[in-house]
């Protein structure tokens, strides 16, 4: 009964690819039992082989994804940067025109930006107020919801920046607690 004592059963089964799941292999591994030096006398038996089994989730479709109908998420194709193109070659020109030029021009006059941001740097509330002051009449006609939202945002930001600030002072005679 050596075939039993050795207890080797080797079966490799490839399950058919189901349409829903990915190309995975489910393999039944060799079922091996413990090796016994001396066979047990009858009627005693040795523990037989156990089918532990192991399912490996391997992609077996090849080295590269092929034939997959869905989009492949890969790195973007390399794009050569034009460091000596028209805009980049002379980047920074006229930044010292107020020092080196003969006119009253300053680099601030040469900026290209939305009108309410040309040479202006401020927090959100300041920017919104400036925007509404300069372009508000146009926004009111074209984008009334945006117009309303902006004023509400300005109100909200005013309260956020200016109210409920400062350390509350205790042990002070009077009702005012915040200075």
């Amino acid at each position: 009964m050596s075939w039993l004592t050795k207890g080797i059963t080797y079966a490799r089964q490839l399950f058919a690819r189901s349409s829903s799941c990915s190309q995975c292999i489910s393999m039944r591994c060799r079922s091996v039992g413990p090796e016994y030096k001396f066979p047990a006398p009858s009627p005693y038996k040795t523990p037989g082989p156990n089918r532990h089994g192991y399912k490996q989730n391997w992609f077996d479709g090849g080295s590269l994804p092929r034939g997959i109908p869905t989009k492949v998420h890969a790195l973007k194709p390399y794009r050569v940067r034009k460091t000596w193109g028209a805009t980049k070659a002379l980047y920074g020109r006229n930044d010292n025109i107020d020092i080196l030029g003969d006119t009253d021009l300053t680099p601030r006059d040469l900026l290209r930006a939305p009108a309410w941001l040309k040479g202006f740097n401020g927090n959100e509330m300041q920017r919104l107020i400036r925007l509404m002051g300069m372009e508000g009449h146009k926004i009111r006609q074209l984008y009334p919801t945006y117009y309303n939202q902006n004023w509400r945002r300005i109100k909200y930001l005013y309260k956020k920046y200016n109210q409920h600030r400062g350390k509350p002072i205790t042990n002070v005679i009077g009702t005012q607690k915040v200075y």
């Binding site: 002379l90 020109r93 941001l117 740097n121 939202q149």
Partner: protein, 299 residues
């Protein structure tokens, strides 16, 4: 005979939004001296190849010194060759003096860094915007009752923790990072950049940017022969450039022409070599020294 011919004025405008008025060419003493002594043959079209042309000149050197405005009494002036653009290999026309405060400033990397960073930041606009709770176009209603649902209590579906909800602290609208670097720091940055170029042998001074042919290969050969590097910045005093030079340089992205008023630290550092005309040097020195030593009240 003075024969600086400029046929068919070709303007290389420095891409400004506003019109800059033409500046009259101010001939300094050095320029007049050169114009009188300097004689070149004018060649027609394709008669002779550029490399084979012979230029008739008086005996060299033409110029050995230059009068510096407001010289520094304690420091000797720097010296540089005066070269030409008529021939492929350079002929040294003479030696000129350069102001030590403009071309001999001790290097300061932090000032250069500040200038370059400012040049990028002051014109940068960030257009990112994330919609806040109030910007969303959604129902304001309470989605489900307070109790009894087994869900986390919610007053609206616009909250930040909700999917497709608003963003509390995201970028809010187009904003700018504009600020102005002081004039002192900017002119110091220019002086340091010029000094660095001079010290590293990347600064060359030429009599003018007139070249005999508009063939871009002439310019390429000239630059390769003289080992001027991959990229060259040519600086003239006015924004009207000679025809041939403009046409030849337009074929290359790395050879660029600028007037003096367009100079900046970023461009000086970006180009490997800086080539200036004598008139440009005079104007640049005058402007930078004026800025250094003027005592106007700051606003």
């Amino acid at each position: 005979m003075c024969m600086f011919m400029k046929m068919n004025v070709f303007r290389q405008i420095a891409r400004t939004n506003t019109c800059v008025s033409l500046i009259q060419r101010q001939c300094t003493a050095a320029q007049i001296f050169l114009q009188r002594c300097f004689a070149t043959k004018v060649f027609q079209g394709d008669e002779v190849e550029a490399s084979a042309r012979v230029v008739a000149r008086p005996s060299l050197p033409i110029i050995t010194s230059r009068k510096i405005q407001f010289p520094n009494p304690y420091i000797e002036p720097k010296q540089a060759w005066l070269e030409n653009m008529d021939t492929i290999s350079s002929e040294k026309l003479g030696i000129i003096d350069l102001h030590p405060d403009v071309f001999g400033t001790p290097p300061r990397m932090d000032i250069l860094h500040e200038n370059v960073v400012w040049q990028h930041k002051y014109r940068y606009i960030n257009y990112e915007k994330e919609l806040s709770k109030g910007d969303l176009d959604k129902r304001r209603r309470k989605p489900f009752p307070q109790k009894g649902m087994g869900k986390k209590r919610a007053g609206s579906t616009k909250a930040c923790n909700w999917k497709y909800g608003g963003s509390a602290h995201g970028p809010r609208g187009p904003y700018s990072t504009y600020y102005m670097l002081s004039k002192e720091k900017r002119e110091l940055g220019l002086r340091i950049a010029l000094s660095v170029k001079y010290a590293q042998d990347d600064l060359h001074i030429v009599d003018s940017l007139e070249i005999p042919s508009e063939d871009p290969e002439y310019l390429q050969e000239l630059i390769d022969t003289r080992y001027w590097g991959f990229s060259v910045l040519f600086v003239d005093d006015t924004d009207i450039m000679p025809v041939n030079m403009s046409l030849a340089a337009s074929e290359f992205g790395q050879y660029n022409l600028l007037p003096v008023y367009g100079l900046n630290v970023y461009s000086i550092l970006k180009h490997q070599t800086l080539v200036m005309t004598l008139a440009a040097v005079e104007k640049l020195e005058q402007k930078l020294l004026e800025q250094m030593h003027k005592a106007d009240v700051r606003k």
